[in-house]
């Protein structure tokens, strides 16, 4: 991933790569549009980001148990049910288990994660609002 895209995803403008002064073409016009002044950056401080390695992938979904998890947004349950129907039709050896995550949309659900870790092989999660 290039630095500009990563900066954008982290909430920082890629224009910050330009450094403390403005771009060269803008500097050229500075001489004709007024004296240079200095102004402070208004931004606060973001927390450091700990990179999380992704979980190893499965070699195949055949014979596996996939948890279909909704975060509770309207329509997610029906949508995930369609995914279950798709697997029944196209990959009948896959077992699907539907679960509604507890709490509000952004809330954690350690009980569910523990259940999935104990009984599941993969998760398809519908995330919305």
């Amino acid at each position: 991933m290039n630095r500009r895209k990563l900066l954008s995803l982290l909430g920082a403008s890629p224009a910050l790569l330009a450094g403390s002064s403005l771009h060269a073409d803008q500097r050229q016009s500075a001489a004709s549009s007024g004296a240079k002044i200095e102004a402070l950056n208004p931004k606060g401080t973001p927390p450091p980001i700990t990179l999380i390695p992704m979980a190893p992938r499965l070699k195949t979904l055949d014979g596996k148990t996939i948890y279909l998890v909704s975060d509770g947004f309207p329509g997610a349950d029906h949508f995930l049910n369609q995914i279950a129907i798709w697997f029944q039709k196209h990959m009948p050896s896959v077992k699907t288990v539907y679960r509604l995550k507890a709490g509000a949309l952004p809330d954690d659900d350690p009980k569910l994660w523990a259940e999935i870790k104990a009984n599941g092989n993969a998760v398809i999660m519908a995330i919305g609002h």
Binding site: S13, A15, I37
Partner: protein, 428 residues
């Protein structure tokens, strides 16, 4: 958890999904997308999404979901370690016009010209408080639990207060709002609004307007304190980036300078809002609110009754379309408050209790609202359809503040919840 996961999100939230994944430590998360929306679509339409293409990659969706769970990880996907997102240099330099463009084009303003925060102006602003410039005030993000929290110092807030056009004497109020950690710009697809009630001697010290036009563009402190709240939310809380940290489908014009409401304590017959919340009358306090909107209440029943209109009936009626997700805030002219005292409401509490009990919705109608009966309390599901239940969860969700210049006995109602009260005196 250590279990391979394929998140699915609709295309409308693409930028937000990628940004959130990156900020939480998985910049390469294998997110799959469907067309938007899912909500409201039939089963057949949803199945068609699955048989169709991911609108981002334009490749068949279900094979992509399967690949997300089975394709071996790349070295980037297996990386660990720490990344510190950059926020840019401490100083920007250029001509006045160039700097105005730079701040605006890089999302640091409200798209109106700002007072450029030179070192001299920021130093002058910092004299408005006894607190150290490097003191950490708090943390803010567009929605707690969903975004990383940015931290900010007294100096960070001073820069934003200068940009907003605040006088240094206003700075303690801005610091108190910053200390509330409530952003004026939330990330929801709703377009939320925020309000701040100001109480205590600070109002007169700063010449805040709590008379005619109090909530309009008629006084510098009223205008600029609210504007500073929005700027610091954007810059110190990483709020207000459309598509990433702001998803309000309409936007809300209140967000330009929020609803700054200095209470008219002098003409109110009741104890001030902050005293209700446990502060002394001589303390200066800011109380912050968040919710959906505010509207004028002139069509309420009871207002035509003479000699004293039944204002409380109008309040209850006008709350009728409010969402139980938030509480209710009545904003009334002192003439209304004085009339309610004549009706027997010598204090705010019995009035608020009455309004809570009488701002109701039928069970039948409640069942078909967005949230159904989820916030109505455990017994509501057992009630008949024609029973009426309070819109707000309990009386503490209903508040009232007195403001205005007594030109007429009008009121407004806001669908907003009180989110906390902070001492302004602490920040002087």
């Amino acid at each position: 958890m250590g279990i391979p996961t394929a998140p699915i999100v609709t295309i409308a939230f693409k930028d937000l999904a990628y940004s959130n994944a990156a900020q939480r430590g998985m910049p390469h998360e294998r997110i799959c997308f469907t067309p938007h929306p899912v909500w409201g679509k039939s089963d057949a339409q949803m199945y068609a999404y699955l048989e169709g293409n991911d609108p981002v990659t334009h490749k068949p969706l279900m094979p992509e979901i399967i690949s997300a769970l089975t394709k071996p990880l790349t070295p980037d996907e297996e990386k660990s370690g720490t990344v510190t997102p950059p926020v840019g240099p401490e100083i920007f330099s250029g001509s006045q016009d160039e700097l105005q463009d730079y701040y605006m084009n890089n999302g640091m303003t409200d798209f109106m010209p700002v007072i450029l925060p030179t070192r001299e102006k920021v130093d002058a602003m910092l004299k408005g408080t006894s607190h150290s410039p490097d003191e950490m005030i708090g943390k803010m993000c567009p929605a707690k639990g969903s975004y990383p929290e940015w931290s900010y110092t007294v100096r960070n807030v001073a820069v934003n207060a200068v940009m907003a056009g605040c006088d240094p004497s206003y700075f303690p109020v801005v610091l108190a709002i910053a200390a509330s950690e409530l952003p004026s710009l939330s990330s929801s697809t709703n377009s939320f609004a925020t309000a701040a009630i100001i109480n205590g001697p600070i109002r007169d010290k700063l010449n805040m307007n709590y008379g005619i036009g109090a909530m309009g563009p008629f006084a510098q402190p009223n205008a600029t304190i609210g504007r500073a709240w929005t700027l610091l939310s954007k810059n110190c809380g990483s709020c207000g980036q459309p598509g990433q940290t702001y998803m309000g489908t309409f936007g809300n014009t209140c967000n330009y300078n929020n609803l700054i409401i200095p209470e008219n304590e002098k003409d109110s017959p009741w104890e001030p809002f902050h005293v209700q919340k446990g502060f002394k009358p001589t303390e200066s306090v800011v109380s912050v609110f968040m919710g959906l909107d505010i509207r004028q209440g002139q069509n309420g029943p009871g207002l035509g009754i003479k000699p004293v209109p039944q204002y409380q009936e109008a309040f209850a009626f006008n709350f009728g379309t409010c969402a139980p997700l938030f509480g209710g805030l009545v904003v009334c002219d002192p003439l209304v408050a004085q009339g309610l005292v004549e009706l027997g409401y010598k204090t705010k509490e019995p009035l608020l209790d009455w309004v809570w009990k009488n701002a109701t919705i039928s069970v039948k109608d409640a069942k078909t609202t967005l949230f159904g009966l989820r916030m109505a309390g455990p017994g509501a599901a057992n009630l008949p359809d024609d029973a009426r239940i309070p819109i707000f969860r309990n009386a503490s969700y209903v508040n009232i503040v007195v403001v205005g210049g007594e030109t007429n006995p009008y009121h407004m109602v806001a669908n907003m919840s009180h989110r906390g009260s902070v001492s302004i005196d602490k920040w002087t």
